[in-house]
């Protein structure tokens, strides 16, 4: 018997096919859409007693055309790209802070040394002093600016981490819900293609932030999270950021104890930047600032300024407690065992005396140091327990400095003769040493008889023996070498008379002046708090340009210039070389990340094209299919019409 089943089934299946095609065409440009196709099967046949007859066509399923491998690869690429892009953005910002340009820290260093070079030639020039002070403040300001920028970058990164976590937690909640819906649909044999598309899109969105991998199961998905290989169940998986007191961040599962290794994704990059990259460059810049401060402060503190001898100086760097040993007092710069030399000037007679203070930071507290310094004649030191600072003052009519200048006259404690003994010159030797003098004969300086003096070094080795009797013009200079000179005025000297003098190259071998910030050039101890000392800022003539009282003596400014080529940073690099290396280091990082990003984006493009080649909609293809199904529909209509006409003919026979 004729029936309409086959025709009707053809109509139905063609209609479904055309609906699917229409949906494909409509979503041709929808990001993440995977094209669908209809799967036809023959309807169940019927046995009419003689033959098995077909009953038409059914649509068994609507398939989503996708490649799981390509999707996985693309998701992984998105995570990697997200990671590299975020890392590159942050690294670029670090690079921006260190760009060599007008007004950059590179230029400030150049100006600092150039202006000290000018000051060295004209130390008495007040305008040049002001320029040096201004340039130095600019250099300090640039350190502060860079440090501030790094701080702001850390704050911004922390905020970005919090925002990303909030966002990814929302996405994970949505993913969990979606996964449930997919699972439910699959449980009842449905193909939730739209849900699967949405799911894939959401996974890719999440992958930009965290390294997630969706593993298809028989119902729904499970997820792997980065290197932790944490399997996220269908219950909601949420993240939280745990910011530590040292500024670093740990990412954990909410209510979890273990820090997660994020692997790829932008969140991992932010965490790495916050925990490692930014602190690394912060540390390098602070190292540079500290090296600058300690080296320049030492030169400044041990020199003499146009201002003249000091009358009062207060330390800028404070101890934690004036009663505990300096080694434990929390000072930013270490004080070691050594000597500190103080020169006292009698402003009435222009005489100088030289005094040594022994420093042992393991036992000496700030209070005890003050007592030791107060042993120096005409000088008083006080350790203030309220401010934790040390103040050194001289009596009226006296001044002092830490330049290690030679005394004007020998100490007469062990001299019985009456001949005047004077020291001249500026010691230029490489090491501190104590020279001993012994008179070998008794007689008159310049007198007819032999009158000799023997000079020995600290080790007791003879430096020379000089004739002070016959042939020696009283008062004339005897050159002892290394800039050291002595003269003996007319008078008597006795055999056995002895005296000594400290020939000082480094008047503070302990680092006390730098550690406490006495007569310093800079205040602060690192990039964030470095600034020009208020003493120098208020009075630029306090810049210690010389090592003697001569106005045109620029020898201390020369020592500043010599710092430029010295390996001051960790004993390896000069200041500017270290800055160069830091700048180059971040530049290399950005360069590598740029290249990596370019490669990843290029590969992502390839993967996208591959996915598109599998899952993308070609409207031309769809229209060809649509024509096919249109003809099939038209044919099915003809079949039904023909059967209907045939049945009508049959009915006419009966009637």
């Amino acid at each position: 018997m004729l029936n309409f089943n086959a025709g009707l089934s053809a109509l139905r299946s063609s209609q479904v096919a055309m609906d699917v095609i229409g949906n494909n065409i409509a979503n041709a440009n929808t990001p993440g859409y995977h094209r669908q196709s209809v799967q036809h099967v023959q309807s169940a046949p019927l046995y009419d007693g003689d033959f098995w007859r077909g009953t038409g066509v059914d649509v068994s399923r609507i398939n989503q055309i996708a490649s799981a491998n390509v999707e996985l690869a693309l998701t992984a690429n998105i995570a990697d790209t997200g990671n590299v892009q975020q890392a590159r953005r942050i690294a670029s910002q670090i690079e921006n802070s260190l760009l060599p340009s007008a007004g950059s820290i590179h230029q400030r260093f150049q100006q600092f040394f150039d202006n000290f070079n000018s000051l060295q030639s004209e130390p008495e020039n007040a305008s040049q002093q002001r320029i040096v002070a201004s340039t130095s403040q600019n250099l300090a300001g640039e350190f502060n600016a860079i440090s501030g920028e790094f701080q702001e970058l850390k704050v911004a990164t922390r905020q970005d981490i919090e925002f990303s976590i909030r966002q990814v937690n929302q996405q994970l909640s949505a993913l969990s819900e979606l996964n449930q819906q997919i699972s439910n649909a699959q449980a009842i044999g449905q193909n939730p293609n739209s849900l699967l598309d949405s799911h894939q899109q959401l996974v890719n969105d999440i992958a930009q932030t965290i390294d997630i991998k969706a593993v298809p199961e028989s119902r729904g998905f499970t997820y792997q999270f980065a290197q932790s290989r944490v399997l996220i169940s269908q219950s909601t998986f949420q993240l939280e950021a745990n910011f530590q007191s040292d500024g670093s961040v740990e990412i954990r599962e909410q209510s979890g104890q273990i820090a997660l290794d994020l692997g790829a994704g932008s969140l991992a990059a932010m965490q790495h930047s916050l925990n490692d990259v930014i602190p690394e460059y912060e540390s390098q810049i602070s190292e540079l600032a500290s090296a600058l401060i300690t080296s320049v402060d030492h030169v400044q503190a041990t020199g003499v300024s146009q201002y003249g001898p000091l009358h009062s100086v207060t330390s800028h760097r404070t101890v934690s407690d004036t009663e505990i040993p300096l080694a434990e007092a929390g000072l930013p710069f270490e004080i070691k065992e050594g000597e500190l030399y103080i020169t006292v000037h009698d402003e009435l007679t222009n005489q100088r005396t030289q005094h040594q203070v022994l420093i042992d930071p393991s036992s000496l507290s700030l209070t005890e140091l003050a007592k030791e310094i107060s042993q120096v004649p005409h000088v008083q030191a006080v350790a203030d327990p309220n401010t934790n600072q040390l103040t050194v003052v001289s009596e009226p009519g006296y001044g002092f400095d830490f330049a290690g200048q030679l005394p004007t006259e020998a100490d007469r404690l062990t001299i019985t003769g009456d001949a005047g003994i004077s020291f001249h010159g500026v010691y230029t030797g490489a090491e501190n040493q104590e020279l001993g003098f012994e008179i070998l004969d008794t007689g008159q300086v310049g007198g007819p008889a032999d009158l000799r003096v023997r000079v020995t070094d600290q080790a007791g080795n003879e430096v020379g023996e000089y004739q002070l009797g016959s042939g020696y013009e009283p008062g004339s200079i005897i050159d002892l070498g290394d800039g050291l000179q002595i003269s003996f005025a007319s008078g008597s000297l006795n055999a056995g008379d002895t005296f000594s003098v400290f020939a000082v190259n480094n008047s503070d071998t302990s680092g006390t002046l730098v550690g406490l910030g006495l007569n310093s050039f800079f205040e602060g101890s690192n990039a964030s708090d470095i600034r020009l000392s208020s003493d120098v800022s208020n009075d630029p003539s306090r810049i210690s340009s010389g090592r003697s009282d001569d106005s045109a003596d620029g020898s201390n400014a020369k020592r500043i210039l010599e710092l430029r080529d010295m390996a001051l940073v960790n004993g390896e690099l000069s200041l500017e070389d270290h800055l160069d290396r830091t700048t180059t280091s971040i530049a290399i990082e950005v360069n590598v990340l740029n290249d990596l990003e370019t490669d990843l984006v290029s590969f992502q493009n390839i993967l996208s094209r591959e996915r598109e080649s599998i899952s993308g909609v070609d409207p031309n293809e769809e229209m060809i299919e649509m024509l096919k199904y249109q003809r099939s529909f038209q044919a099915a209509v003809r079949v039904i019409t023909t059967i209907d006409e045939t049945l009508s003919e049959l009915m006419n026979i009966i009637r």
Binding site: A28, N29, E95, P100, H106, Q110, D114, N117, Q120, S121, E124, H424, G425, V426, Q444, G446, G447, P448, G469, S470, Y472, E473, P474, G475, A489, S490, S548, D550, S551, A552, D553, G554, K558, L561, E562, D565, T583, T584, I586, A587, I588, E589, V590, N591, N594, V601, S602, N605, S608, R609, E612, S613, I614, G616, V617, D618, P619, N620, M623, I624
Partner: protein, 483 residues
């Protein structure tokens, strides 16, 4: 077969467009700035080289600036010192001409010219460059030379108030040039020979080494005369002020005869000089010795019948500062007399001092440039009252002193000229280095504009082809063929 959908074709175009636009942006930067790189990350290694080259160029520029700054005062100094040497050359001429000039008026004219030379030399010694004294060494704000006159001094005293340390300017890390010299080193270099004693006091050079320089007047003053016992002779009323004999006991003698036998009258002589009659009423009898010297005696208590020699001891003092300080004569072969004005000492053999008076001391070889001129002026005026032979010899010594001073000035001129030459060479080297480095910097850091323009055109063409390709791909549509 690979499926290409319109979406993927569009994505490909967008991707390529972004890459080309990025490249174009970089090329635009290069074209507009002339620089190859806008940031170090574009090529870290080359940028490191660029950074180093820039730093080196800056250092060279600073060096050049320092060279220019240093050349000026050195040029000034050389000019000044050449003029100073010319002044000394004229002074030497005067020293040679003076013995031939018998006319006192002519010598006065030469002395006046010398005054002018001295003033000019002092002015040169105190010359400044940009408010800094050129010859004060590192004490650039202190006037180096002052000529102090003091009544107690034989000639004015030249004081150098500057520093013994030269001031230097750092040109580069390894090169420093001295820019302000110690004036003492230029104008006050001296030696020391024997000390000459010109006069009649009997003082002679001691065995020690003097520190006084130039000239001094040794004033030998009488203080007290005593007589050996037995004769009854005593010092006269004017003895302290008027006696001119100095000597240890016995160096001078009286020969006294009591012709009366009662101590009331007789004759007396000093050191073999003319006999003078004495009486017991004489309280202030003046005697003159054979070789000069005078003594005032009191003969009111002559021992009756005394006839014989009476030893005399005449104490005195020595002074080289016009009497400001005095040293008691101890008649030893080496006494030290200090000049309280200059602080310098003279060793004197006072064993032969016989008479009070003023000896002129000349410390041979110790005259610096100023002192030599002052001494020459005084010699032209013959302030020491030398005879013509002594004066002639003194003028010869002045010539030697001036020659020594001139030699030292020329040495310094030589040193400074060498320094200037070095600076000139450094400037040339510096310029060459700057050119070379600028060229290298240009190679590494400057954009090749021709290449940039060509590449920009290339990118532009590629972009256009990109758009054209998309247009072709998108133009094939079945809809165009369906009815």
């Amino acid at each position: 077969m690979f499926r290409i959908t319109p979406f993927s074709a569009a994505q490909t175009t967008i991707f390529q467009n972004r890459a080309q636009a990025s490249r174009l942006s970089k090329l635009q930067f290069q074209a507009s700035s002339g620089l190859k790189y806008s940031r170090p990350s574009e090529n870290p290694m080359e940028n490191r080289t660029i950074s180093r080259l820039n730093r080196t160029l800056e250092s060279l520029a600073t060096q050049q600036s320092r060279i220019n700054d240093v050349q000026q005062p050195l040029n000034n100094s050389v000019t000044n010192l050449i003029e100073a040497n010319d002044l000394l050359t004229r002074a030497k001429q005067i020293a040679l001409e003076a013995p031939q000039s018998i006319n006192e008026g002519a010598q006065e004219v030469l002395a006046a010219e010398l005054d002018s030379i001295i003033n000019r030399l002092q002015s040169i010694g105190n010359s400044q460059y940009q408010d800094r004294y050129l010859y004060s060494g590192a004490a650039g704000d202190t006037e180096p030379f002052q000529i102090l006159d003091n009544a107690g001094l034989a000639i004015p005293f030249v004081v150098y108030g500057g520093s013994s340390q030269n001031a230097e300017s750092v040109i580069s890390q390894s090169i420093s040039i001295e820019t302000a010299f110690s004036g003492a080193e230029i104008f006050m270099q001296r030696g020391r020979g024997a000390t000459m004693f010109i006069g009649n006091t009997g003082a002679a050079p001691g065995a020690g080494t003097d520190s006084e320089i130039g000239r001094a007047n040794l004033t030998v003053s009488h203080t007290l005369t005593t007589f050996s016992g037995g004769s009854g002779v005593a010092a006269g009323v004017d003895s302290a002020e008027g006696d001119t004999i100095i000597g240890a006991m016995g160096q001078h003698q009286l020969t006294l005869t009591d012709t009366s036998g009662t101590g009331t009258s007789g004759t007396v002589s000093l050191d073999g000089g003319p006999s003078v009659a004495w009486t017991s009423a004489d309280t202030n009898l003046k005697l003159t010795g054979l070789h000069g010297g005078a003594v005032f005696i009191d003969t009111t208590a002559i021992a009756a019948g005394f006839s014989g020699n009476v030893d005399i001891e005449a104490a005195g003092t020595l002074s080289t500062d016009g009497g400001a300080t005095e040293t008691v004569i101890d008649f030893s072969n080496n006494q030290v007399v200090e000049n309280s004005i200059t602080g310098n000492v003279t060793h004197i053999d006072s064993s032969g001092v016989a008479y009070a008076g003023v000896d002129s001391l000349e410390y041979e070889g110790t005259a610096d440039a100023f002192t030599a001129l002052l001494e020459l002026r005084d010699d032209l005026q013959n302030t020491r009252g030398l005879d013509s032979a002594d004066l002639s010899e003194s003028l010869e010594r002045r010539f030697v002193d001036l020659q020594r001073a001139s030699d030292q000035i020329l040495n310094v001129v030589g040193e400074q000229s060498v320094a200037l030459q070095q600076l000139d060479q450094m400037a040339v080297q510096n310029e060459n280095q700057q050119l070379d480095l600028s060229s290298r910097l240009s190679d590494v850091g400057s954009a090749d504009l021709a290449k940039v323009i060509v590449e920009m055109q290339g990118v532009q063409t590629t972009m256009q082809f990109n758009y054209a390709a998309l247009s072709i791909v998108q133009s094939n549509n079945l809809l165009d063929f369906l009815g």
